[in-house]
């Protein structure tokens, strides 16, 4: 995996969440694409391979010069990425993102998984596709994060929710009549994706961003298996090259 050393322009923390902005002049990300990211201690003569694997993170936003990543700090890898004083190494944008067709469309997101919807909204606007954004803000989310989200998605309908399974229902209910839309774009916790997939089956097409553990992120290792329907049979495909965005009806959860 080719990783580029990039210049970090900004690091922000909102509770357990972090925003990372870096200069990016490589190929621009499509919405729903992701990058592999790791740190290298700038004092290290040989790059440290601890933690061993880079971390997959969605392209949150891109303005032609700077890339933004938005992520939750969970373990060592994300903690290091959010930390100061380290060099940032990132891959090119990877995978297959959202496909933009006609509108109007609804964007549905939850938790930190809202990340790819920002760039998607930007592309939809650029293509003149009408879209509404519905985001879950969990009650447990730190205030700073909630404030930042509402600032970052000024036109979005924010749905404050309690727990995860409840969340999906509340967010979908806030949309009301789905027949207004030509498509549903989703990125959220598993129960939300499930719910979106279910409602879309009988109504309108959906595109869901999935997350699987990844190692190579280039199709080599078959580590990021996602069950899909292939010619009527359940089969595993690779989230990193065939996804991470899949049409709802393809996923064989």
């Amino acid at each position: 995996m080719k990783l580029h050393t990039v210049e970090v322009l900004q690091r922000e923390r909102f509770g357990d969440h972090a925003l990372l902005r870096y200069r990016w002049t490589g190929s621009p990300p499509e919405p729903g694409q992701f990058v592999m990211a790791r740190v290298a201690s700038s004092t290290s003569p040989t790059r440290s391979l601890d933690p061993f694997l880079p971390r997959p993170l969605f392209a949150h936003d891109y303005d032609g010069e700077a890339m933004r990543l938005l992520f939750e700090i969970r373990g060592r890898g994300t903690a290091l990425l959010a930390g100061e004083g380290t060099e940032l190494l990132v891959s090119d944008p990877l995978g297959r993102g959202y496909t933009i067709d006609g509108g109007p469309v609804a964007l549905v997101g939850g938790g930190v998984w809202v990340s790819p919807l920002k760039l998607l909204a930007r592309h939809l606007a650029r293509s003149g596709v009408a879209h509404d954004v519905y985001l879950e803000i969990p009650a447990a989310a730190p205030e700073a994060y909630a404030a930042w989200i509402s600032g970052s998605y000024p036109d979005a309908t924010l749905v404050p929710t309690g727990g995860a399974s409840d969340a999906s229902r509340a967010v979908l209910e806030s949309i009301g009549d789905l027949s207004r839309y030509a498509g549903l774009y989703a990125s959220g916790p598993a129960p939300m994706l499930d719910a979106v997939k279910r409602v879309s089956r009988d109504t309108i097409p959906s595109q869901l961003a999935v997350r699987e553990r990844m190692a190579c992120a280039n199709g080599s290792c078959y580590g990021c298996a996602v069950p899909v329907w292939e010619a009527g049979e359940r089969a595993y495909t690779r989230a990193c090259v065939e996804g991470p965005v899949f049409p709802g009806e393809v996923l064989a959860w």
Binding site: M1, K2, F52, L53, A215, C221, Y222
Partner: protein
């Protein structure tokens, strides 16, 4: 003997990276480890590898194991892919996908000796295929809790049986670390032209928060490098056939270490997920230049102290 020179971008053209493996000239000693380089990525690695080696193919298609299939550990990772592959027929249909101007090696696995032989028969007549690597060691495909090919008896049987149809082509036996010296001797005696050491080591990751087993699978990466180096070194002392080293290579110095330990060629697996093989080759070339050595001299360049 004329050795092909690799034309590697950013590498001194005067460094001779070529090696000979069972009569096959490789422009560089690097080979992708089975199961760690997809067709999709072939373009990226032009000039880096001396041969191509796709993921292990089995007689019939295999769906593979349910996710999660990978987990990270200290200095490495664990995988449990379950040999997902399209099966022999589809593999053969699409063999031209691997036409990148390099010798093509294929890795095969099967449940029975008969199936191993049947696969080798299919490859015997395949002009595109330069050598066959028998995967005698996958820790993720289990038969009643025991690994296929656990001991020298089975290694001997499979290798001897596959030797027959493959009379014209080099045959490599890929072995696990467990019992590696005895198994390598058995493989050589049964007619293997080279042994590939080592496959991943059975390992387990637990999630203490969820109090669940996260993954049972095979350990790879720098964590196993000292173990793989030991296997290559010990086996090189006792067998006459070339050894192909694999396990934890993430740098050009690692490549040099495997060759000093006795490897004629070196496979790169999980290391290619976290660094560029191209960079490793450049580092290896720099090492050779600094030490005034050619790649093919390294196996004899170990000095006693």
């Amino acid at each position: 003997m004329v050795t092909r020179r690799a034309t590697v971008v950013g590498t001194d053209p005067d460094v001779d990276l070529g090696v000979k493996l069972c009569g096959i000239l490789l422009a560089t000693p690097l080979i992708p480890a089975a199961g760690t380089l997809a067709k999709e990525t072939l373009g990226e690695v032009k000039g880096v590898y001396g041969a191509m080696l796709p993921k292990t193919v089995t007689p019939r298609p295999r769906a593979g194991n349910p996710p999660p299939r990978v987990a990270e550990v200290s200095s490495g990772m664990i995988n449990s892919i379950g040999l997902q592959n399209p099966g022999l027929d589809r593999f053969l249909e699409n063999l031209t996908d691997y036409d990148v101007g390099l010798p093509l090696f294929v890795s095969v696995a099967a449940d029975t000796v008969g199936e191993f032989v049947a696969m080798c028969e299919r490859f015997a007549g395949e002009e595109r295929v330069s050598a066959v690597e028998l995967n005698l060691s996958c820790p993720n495909v289990e038969h009643g809790g025991l690994q296929f090919c656990a001991g020298p008896g089975t290694v001997r049987e499979v290798v001897a049986a596959c030797r027959v149809p493959l009379s014209g082509k080099p045959l490599f036996a890929k072995l696990t670390n467990e019992g590696v010296v005895n198994n390598a001797v058995a493989a050589e005696e049964a007619g293997a032209d080279a042994v590939t050491l080592i496959n991943t080591i059975p390992a387990l990751v637990l999630d203490p928060r969820e109090r669940q087993v996260s993954l049972r699978g095979g350990l790879s990466g720098p964590a196993i490098k000292p173990i793989a180096l030991r296997a290559v070194y010990e086996v090189s002392q006792v067998v006459g056939v070339p050894v192909i080293g694999v396990g934890g290579v993430t740098s050009g110095t690692d490549v040099a270490e495997f060759m000093l330990a006795g490897a004629a060629a070196v496979q790169v697996g999980s290391g290619s997920f976290v660094r560029e093989p191209q960079e490793m080759l450049e580092e290896f070339a720099a090492y050779l230049r600094k030490n005034g050595l050619r790649a093919r001299d390294l196996a004899d360049a170990l000095t006693e102290r």
